[in-house]
């Protein structure tokens, strides 16, 4: 039966699991340095992921209040807001870097 087959496969495509890392004041505002979350399947880009995270609670909303200044690395490589999440396992969020 095709309806049953669809039901079985649905949980596999409705979300993806990602490890999320936060650094510096993004970490402090979010209140966590690392977590694993189910990401909805319609969240397909870095920018959409920021928007989705900012809706979680007040801490996330504060961390992402100026989403354009938050830098993102997918699997430890910098990615712009329009970059697709693709099959990245990890996304890290942080302020502009101030090393050196």
């Amino acid at each position: 039966m095709s309806a049953l087959e669809l039901d079985i496969s649905l949980p596999l495509i409705r979300h993806k699991v990602m490890k999320l890392l936060y650094f510096a004041w993004v970490r402090e505002r979010v209140g966590s340095e690392s977590e694993t979350r189910d990401i909805p399947v319609d969240v397909t880009t870095v920018g959409a992921l920021k928007t989705w995270l900012s809706s979680i609670d007040e801490g996330y909303a504060y961390a992402f209040e100026n989403p354009q200044i938050i830098r993102v690395a997918l699997d430890k490589t910098l990615a712009e807001d329009d970059a697709p999440l693709g099959d990245a396992q990890e996304a890290a969020f942080f302020p502009p870097m101030t090393g050196g």
């Binding site: 890392l21 650094f23 510096a24 004041w25 690395a73 430890k76 490589t77 910098l78 890290a92 942080f94 302020p95 502009p96 870097m97 101030t98 090393g99 050196g100």
Partner: protein
């Protein structure tokens, strides 16, 4: 190419000597050491946070880019993290080449890129205990410095 991210201090002189040792084709070695300033007595300590793994991979990528741009004989980058007191060294960049221009420009480039592309963040702990610690904001001048190398 030697890339290190560590809490321990480093010895700039030893790194200069090591980069030059046994290679008589080298005519020029440039080093840059960045230190924690005391900000006129206002600063108690600088806390450096980093993204383990990505810090090393970004520094390596920046060094590889320098190698494609200049004929270098060697590159050493050491970046510390953790809590550092005023006067302590934070970062070291050493480059070697046959001639001075490549060595100077590559060190300058590495520092500019490291400031804007390597995942380190500084938090200032003020000497006055009634003031809160605060994250250092990125400087527009650092972006402008990095833009000098665009091509």
């Amino acid at each position: 190419m030697k890339i290190k991210v560590q809490t321990e201090p480093f010895d700039a002189g030893a790194e200069i000597t090591a980069l030059h040792a046994g290679n008589p084709a080298i005519g020029a070695v440039t080093s840059f050491t960045g230190y924690c300033r005391d900000e006129g007595g206002q600063l108690e300590a600088l806390e450096l946070e980093h993204f383990p793994g990505m810090a090393e991979s970004q520094l390596t990528a920046i060094a590889q880019e320098a190698n494609t741009r200049w004929p270098l004989q060697g590159i050493t980058i050491i970046h510390r993290y953790g809590k550092l007191k005023p006067g302590e060294p934070i970062v070291l960049v050493v480059t070697s080449s046959a001639h001075r221009r490549a060595s100077f420009e590559a060190s300058d480039f590495l520092m500019d890129f490291l400031k804007t592309k390597a995942p380190f963040w500084k938090k200032e702990h003020p000497a006055n205990p009634s003031q809160e610690a605060s994250w250092v904001e990125s400087k527009a001048s650092d972006d402008a410095d990095a833009d000098r190398w665009k091509r």
